[in-house]
């Protein structure tokens, strides 16, 4: 119904915590799914979840230099996709804002915004030749609002500025590309997830999770299976008149 039934969908970061339930749901409705992730991760997920229509792809989608050739190879082998869900992230780790090296900030942008642009342009080129498509980029609540300094305990470092800036950039990439490729029937939208800490992060910082809960209208963090509905919807024909938009999936974090 609202799913991209019978289509070929690529999902980057599809074997990570946030992407896994979406990849499994795509496997059940799509003709083919390319799960693009770090070496070994996609293959392990396919085996564990017994996925039937998903192909594991080991590719560093954060490297703009090698992307065009790699995308061309994938299209030659698997055909042009009808849609892309792009979950891969890049971020500095372990610095305070005061000691964040300029090179680390630069590296995040080089490994997020630049390759996302290149990937979108390469896929749009192939979608122009078919009958259009739908691309879903991943922003974040931290692409819309800054992390709350007061929410972090002393030993924790707030979500880094380079991450938030790159996620804000995703929103404008989606708008710009939506305008540019609109006449070709290619839609671009963004999803801005709220707090979805993975189980390891939840276990390591239980008090922080309590703080996150209180910062949403629903008073709870998100569960990873709650991301599959928004992704499937925006990839599907049911969203045929939605483009250039950012959908917050954040329990109301940014609505108050």
């Amino acid at each position: 119904m609202n799913s991209p039934k019978g289509k070929t969908i690529w999902i980057t970061g599809g074997a990570g915590y946030l992407g896994t339930p979406t990849t499994i749901a795509l496997d059940q409705c799509c003709a083919k799914v390319l799960c693009i992730d770090l070496p070994g991760k996609a293959a392990a997920l396919i085996k564990e979840a017994n996925l039937q229509r998903t192909v594991p792809i080991e590719l560093d989608v954060n490297d703009p230099a090698t992307l065009p050739a790699a995308v061309a190879d994938l299209i030659a082998e698997h055909g042009a996709p009808d849609g892309l869900a792009h979950l891969t992230v890049a971020s500095s780790v372990g610095h305070t804002l005061e000691d964040l090296p300029a090179e680390a900030f630069q590296a995040t942008l080089d490994r997020s915004l630049v390759p996302t642009f290149v990937l979108c342009r390469e896929l749009a080129k192939s979608m122009q030749a078919t009958s259009g498509g739908s691309i879903v980029l991943f922003s974040s609540m931290y692409g819309l609002v800054p992390p709350d300094k007061h929410a972090y305990q002393e030993e924790m470092k707030p979500n880094p500025i380079d991450y938030g800036v790159s996620k804000a950039g995703m929103i404008q990439l989606a708008r710009y590309l939506a305008m540019h490729y609109g006449p070709d029937g290619i839609r671009f939208n963004c999803i801005a997830p709220g707090p979805f800490p993975n189980p390891k992060a939840q276990a390591a910082n239980p008090d922080f999770v309590k703080t996150l809960n209180q910062k949403t209208m629903l008073r709870r963090i998100g569960r990873n299976e709650e991301m599959l509905g928004p992704v499937l919807f925006l990839l599907s024909e049911q969203a045929s008149y939605i483009t250039g938009q950012t959908l917050s999936v954040d329990g109301g974090w940014t609505a108050w």
């Binding site: 008149y241 917050s248 609505a255």
Partner: protein, 262 residues
């Protein structure tokens, strides 16, 4: 995996069902499996559409509803509960457009607010209280408009043969609807009630097509190069009513071909 977008087993109340958009919603929500109750000012006007829906295999209950009349709203709520026992979703699609002409009157403005502001308030109050008491909560979808987000682009109308200036009440109550939805999302968030908005762009009316001169201008102001079809709001409404959007609350989804994204 069960279909997360299915409305099967859910009691959905739709306010306003006889307009261009409302008729399509009736079919769309029905086909998504909803047990559908439509509240409308004049149920007799709903005749042909009801037949059409039934032919498509959609069973619809129709009740009289005057949203500006508190007694009518409460009677409607009670009738829905008497027949179905609960309410899982509410789609507020009622609108009245009493303002006309170049220099609309204050009386018309007051009349507009009776339905579009007070009616919204009475309906939301009645049904959020029902949903808040249910262990499974509920989901509210208010139908606003891109005209609740941006001002009218007057260049769209100049020289097109559309003589009426867009009236200001619409821009006021549709914008208010977006923020009052955040209010209900927040106040009822802990009770399992979600509240979101769908903001349609311009919808092509095949029964009474917009003038070509208007379409030519308007289409260029979208990213898709065309107006919406009247059934293209269904997907977003179904998504927001269904369990597929369980972590989505307080949002506004413009379904406008990118009109407000540029």
């Amino acid at each position: 995996m069960t279909n997360p977008f299915s409305l099967k087993g859910k009691v959905i109340v739709q306010c306003g069902g006889t307009g261009l958009l409302g008729r399509e919603l009736v079919n769309g929500l029905g086909q998504a499996g909803a047990t559908l109750v439509v509240g409308t000012r004049d149920p007799t006007k709903f005749g042909p559409d009801l037949e059409r829906a039934r032919e498509a295999g959609v069973e619809v209950q129709v009740e009289k509803l005057i949203v500006s009349d508190e007694a009518s709203v409460n009677a409607f709520r009670d009738a829905v509960l008497a027949k179905n026992g609960r309410v899982d979703g509410l789609v507020y699609n009622t609108v009245s457009r009493p303002m006309k002409g170049e220099r609309p009157h204050a009386d018309e403005w007051r009349d507009s607010m009776e339905t579009n502001a007070t009616g919204l308030y009475l309906t939301l109050n009645a049904f959020t209280e029902v949903m808040a008491k249910q262990p499974t909560g509920g989901s509210i979808v208010n139908i606003s408009s891109m005209m609740g987000m941006v001002g009218p682009n007057m260049a769209n109308y100049e020289g097109t043969g559309i003589s009426l200036t867009p009236c200001p009440d619409y821009f006021f109550h549709k914008a208010g609807m977006i923020n009052v939805s955040r209010y209900y999302a927040s106040v009822y968030g802990t009770k399992g009630v979600r509240c979101n908005v769908v903001s349609p762009g311009g919808i092509f009316n095949p029964d009474s097509p917009q003038p070509d001169a208007f379409l030519e201008k308007y289409n260029k102001r979208t990213m898709t190069g065309r107006m919406a079809n009247s059934d293209e709001m269904n997907g977003a409404v179904i998504f927001l009513l269904s369990d597929a959007s369980s972590y989505v609350t307080g949002v506004n989804i413009p379904v406008d071909g990118g009109f407000t994204a540029k």
